[in-house]
Symmetry: D2
Subunit: 381 residues, 4 copies
Amino acid sequence: MSAQDSTIRARSLGIPFDGITGKFNAITDVAGVEVGHRTIIEGSGKLIKGVGPVRTGVTAILPGGKKFTPVFANWCMLNGNGDMTGTHWITESGFLETPILITNTGSVGIVRDAALEWMDKNHYYSADEDNVWYAYPVTAETYDGILNDINGFHVKKEDTWAALDSAKSGPAVEGNVGGGTGMICHGFKGGIGTASRVIDKKYGAYTVGVLVQTNYGIREQLTIAGVPVGKELADTLPIIFNGIVSNDKLDGVNAETGSIIVIAATDAPLLPHQLKRIAQRVSLGIGKVGGIGGNGSGDIFLAFSTANKDAFNRNTETTVKMYPNDNMGVLFTATIQATEEAIINALIAAKTMTGINDNTVPALPHDAVIRILKKYNRIKE
Amino acid sequence: MSAQDSTIRARSLGIPFDGITGKFNAITDVAGVEVGHRTIIEGSGKLIKGVGPVRTGVTAILPGGKKFTPVFANWCMLNGNGDMTGTHWITESGFLETPILITNTGSVGIVRDAALEWMDKNHYYSADEDNVWYAYPVTAETYDGILNDINGFHVKKEDTWAALDSAKSGPAVEGNVGGGTGMICHGFKGGIGTASRVIDKKYGAYTVGVLVQTNYGIREQLTIAGVPVGKELADTLPIIFNGIVSNDKLDGVNAETGSIIVIAATDAPLLPHQLKRIAQRVSLGIGKVGGIGGNGSGDIFLAFSTANKDAFNRNTETTVKMYPNDNMGVLFTATIQATEEAIINALIAAKTMTGINDNTVPALPHDAVIRILKKYNRIKE
Amino acid sequence: MSAQDSTIRARSLGIPFDGITGKFNAITDVAGVEVGHRTIIEGSGKLIKGVGPVRTGVTAILPGGKKFTPVFANWCMLNGNGDMTGTHWITESGFLETPILITNTGSVGIVRDAALEWMDKNHYYSADEDNVWYAYPVTAETYDGILNDINGFHVKKEDTWAALDSAKSGPAVEGNVGGGTGMICHGFKGGIGTASRVIDKKYGAYTVGVLVQTNYGIREQLTIAGVPVGKELADTLPIIFNGIVSNDKLDGVNAETGSIIVIAATDAPLLPHQLKRIAQRVSLGIGKVGGIGGNGSGDIFLAFSTANKDAFNRNTETTVKMYPNDNMGVLFTATIQATEEAIINALIAAKTMTGINDNTVPALPHDAVIRILKKYNRIKE
Amino acid sequence: MSAQDSTIRARSLGIPFDGITGKFNAITDVAGVEVGHRTIIEGSGKLIKGVGPVRTGVTAILPGGKKFTPVFANWCMLNGNGDMTGTHWITESGFLETPILITNTGSVGIVRDAALEWMDKNHYYSADEDNVWYAYPVTAETYDGILNDINGFHVKKEDTWAALDSAKSGPAVEGNVGGGTGMICHGFKGGIGTASRVIDKKYGAYTVGVLVQTNYGIREQLTIAGVPVGKELADTLPIIFNGIVSNDKLDGVNAETGSIIVIAATDAPLLPHQLKRIAQRVSLGIGKVGGIGGNGSGDIFLAFSTANKDAFNRNTETTVKMYPNDNMGVLFTATIQATEEAIINALIAAKTMTGINDNTVPALPHDAVIRILKKYNRIKE
């Protein structure tokens, strides 16, 4: 397999998706949202704990840029074999008050504290204040120990700061980047993916943007546009793990030891309990690609709204806008569609990677995907 | 024991409570809230299923009177050995869209459907509409089968309508009334109680009103103003149950087969996730009186806010006010205080009752309570 | 369209499904589970409230037959625009202690109380006992007011008893029966459906059986075997509603005013927290058919396990078996597959129905489904 | 005020408590549970970020000592202004698979990762295994920034290891130790406290042990044995904060910016959903001392059971014992009582502390407490 272009996206290959995308077809289509990645790829060959090889990173999502921008938020999970710090205060207060970081399982702590230190040194809360009274940075993870020296703890606080400092709006960066660097999805190389939908003007012309860090799923369940692509590719392109050649990370159904973190942003004026409803629709998008929320999977989803920028106030009543429940179906559909496309974007962008002990995970082959979708009449000849 | 005056309230006996009450010291201090009771007391002597004796009823709470007044609401439970219908849609939508009914365990169904029929025939949603598209009336219960022929199903739909139709604002009606007619609390006669608190002007001068239907607790745990009143009264005033004389409904800790339903209303502009926080503080008030949320207890709490009367709209964005989280401590304190006082009001108002099979539950003796509180220096001589 | 055979099932038409079914491909493949239906179809023509036409019923599911058989259970919801009574005690205790009833939205109450009365008169708890101390019958609903005189309250307690008394094991009865009589799904006639999966011997050879009452979804989202069947049938077979001919119940995305109740049974020895995980996988099966958990939908799911028949004891410690979490992926997959097939079975079995005001909902045409699946190469020519 | 003896406990002062304690009246009365503390007290005078003064530490609780001992667990919160990592997997799996660490708010991350590294280097999962596949260490916090240079990040991974390595069974160590070093509770010096209860032989003679890290509450709410001790001490013993002398950390009800972490252990054979019920009773104990779950408080509670040591298995069904729900009231009462006593033990043990900027928090004066309890006839003269 020759190297595929990591800037090609699912939609441009002709894979059919429903719905209208935003300008970048990315979470950054929601105005104000910034994304930054710090990718760490070093060394090759045999694993020496603490030395490498290293295939990991940090992804930062800032709901409103680099100054304190509390936004309404909520979260849920499909399967909790994972961690996301900071969720308790979101549940209680209805607000997300920090950046969101995504990294590997072993680096949640250092990234979390580094975010706190970054907020302190950047006077995140105010130009004058010298002190962060409290903050519970949201830090999530998926497990990259098949390709990365995960117990070597290679992510440093400076890596977190680099991800945060480099965050910006604009076009999607996908595949083997940031927190997604060493991830595996449905038996192929996974990583970061993103997509967006804009709803009809009649319902407010709002945007839903989704960013995923995909590390879940077994190959035989991979479904693209309703087509059983995973089954069709069952006998090709094996994973090489500890010298063993297999089509899944391990074997059989128990192979699902990965995870998927999904962040959904919108500019629709949703209250916290309505954002939980958005987060709960993420599962349906994952299900369409073939995910089952396997026991080994940490499938944790967070949704936030950039509307109501003045909702947060410590001592004074505020006025907020509220979207009517009866119209939320369009946002649910947008969330499901954007999640599905973001996952496939991650698979399409990620390139074959060789990591620790020469473990190798193949990229999803674009040409085969197109061939199979044509077989099932989902792409016209 | 001579008959006590059921219009005397805990506070007027000199029992000390913290906080400032509203005008009626009742849930009806929250403007717009109406309460109605239908009390059914018929027959005496041996239980003949379907005939009686009957000691039961229905209590109705209407957040905004007799026309469709959707209000923000949320709920929680301390112990779920009970039922409250209609909670799923409150969780999902953030709105309470129906009256609240409280009755006995065996009558939840008929009261729930009767509420639906009442809404339909009263054109609850609109003067013009002839149809209720959907509605999930909130109906809660506690078990009165120690005094009432509960499996005789004596509550009829007309009783529900009577409770709803008679609902009004104004002074508290407490004790052996409505859904609370046949209830038992901490080894004494329980029933309906209510109380309110008004918070400081600095925090908005809002009111929190609480109504309880008390049927929980064993005697030895009864605590009034921090004083172990239940222990002091352990050897007096037994319950008579199936001819057995005992100080608790059954014996020992497992006796807690009752329940407590608590409805908290406020005019503070709380969003649904903030109302859950209010509901969660109810437990602390119950704990102060000695409740433990026993296994046999259905302790389910609902909180609603009458602010934001225009929040509900099927198709259009609305504007709502939001109370600052940082000030919610005063509302938490108000909720805890009002819950504690409402329970004690129920105990003080309820009179000794004899029901099926001559089962008899004594009233909490006012004079003894005063004597014991003096002993512990909580009432001045 | 000629009348289709309501005993034909999706699988026999050639629609491809993954996984191995049990003997009946029904929830009754889980040993001990009994299902009964009471179908009420009376009258035709213009709606006269209280008279008809009537298109409704009751479905009863008994986890262990007609005597007290408490089973571990849990539940969750995708969207809570609906009701299911009795869930609070399941959450708290981990046990389902009553039959499960499913009916229309307006009859939840009468069916719930009727179940209680049936338990009492049948000495459900014991041959000797004369009393039901407490019980919170599980009663769920979906809304059939498009075809049925729902506010006429035609379901009587005797109908509930008939459903309970007629419950039995054995082959599936599907389509326009029981609680599903008047339901609509993805713009076609819905109703009751069921399916099952048996997992590999290596994981215990356990069965997962699912029963659905389908009343959700809009036509354009209907997906069968990954194929966009709903879009292909967009311009045919309209619904007739109040004389208006349309392809959905109402119009656009907001049309999703229905619901889906899903009951999943298994003989795998799952603890209550593991059964919640099963319930949470139901959404993924619905998502594959095109459901979004629309705002108007009451999507409430309950899972129970018939293993550990001796787990329940009021006063003595018991010994229970526990399934290893690491193997639960196979049960998740089974649940998703059975849910998907049960929904499609409901659609395939349900026949065209005309109800109140001559409102008419067409059956999903079998021949068209086959033609479309062939077009997308999912059924071989 | 002279220095008080930090080994004196509430009970030995004569403060009345209900219930029977275990041998140590500590969480370590639950066999197998080990507790270790690393206390860091360095420097004095003006705050220089990164230099000090330092008043902080780490407390470690190991459910079954220093080798992998997965135990059934569950958790809940009263108010979520705080963090506890690792809860998602506990919710999902029902198991706690790591040690529990408690520290300050700014050190959650480093302590969490250090626990992971400690597990890896100590071959926590097995003597042979070289790899931790996944683990989500439970790390909780309360905020000590009033006495400690919290943004100086003084806790190092070696401190976490010291707490873990030093963990042992045996007598309670309380007050200004471990994670509790710099904490404040009800306007007095708080910290670590512990207590236990043994239930009656008739219910299994099981132990409930509780450990608290107390940093919550305002002074006027402090209640000991039902007596309003805080009000009685309102005008004495002020806190000195940034040179301002006050009786609370800040002022008024909003002062509650602290938190309380509570860990409850038992050897009763409770399943995960039953352990949630235990965790939910913790609030009632806090309420008795005067806590309200203030907005600024992170009140997060975890309960685990050391019974069923063989419940955890990756691939094989296991057999577990289950405690009957009907008897859980005695465990609820034990939990409430032990929580109440543990908090007061923390207050009684903690000594006056001066930290950053000479901020000073007074110890709760033993003699005054005794005097006040005598005034209210709760201690005999």
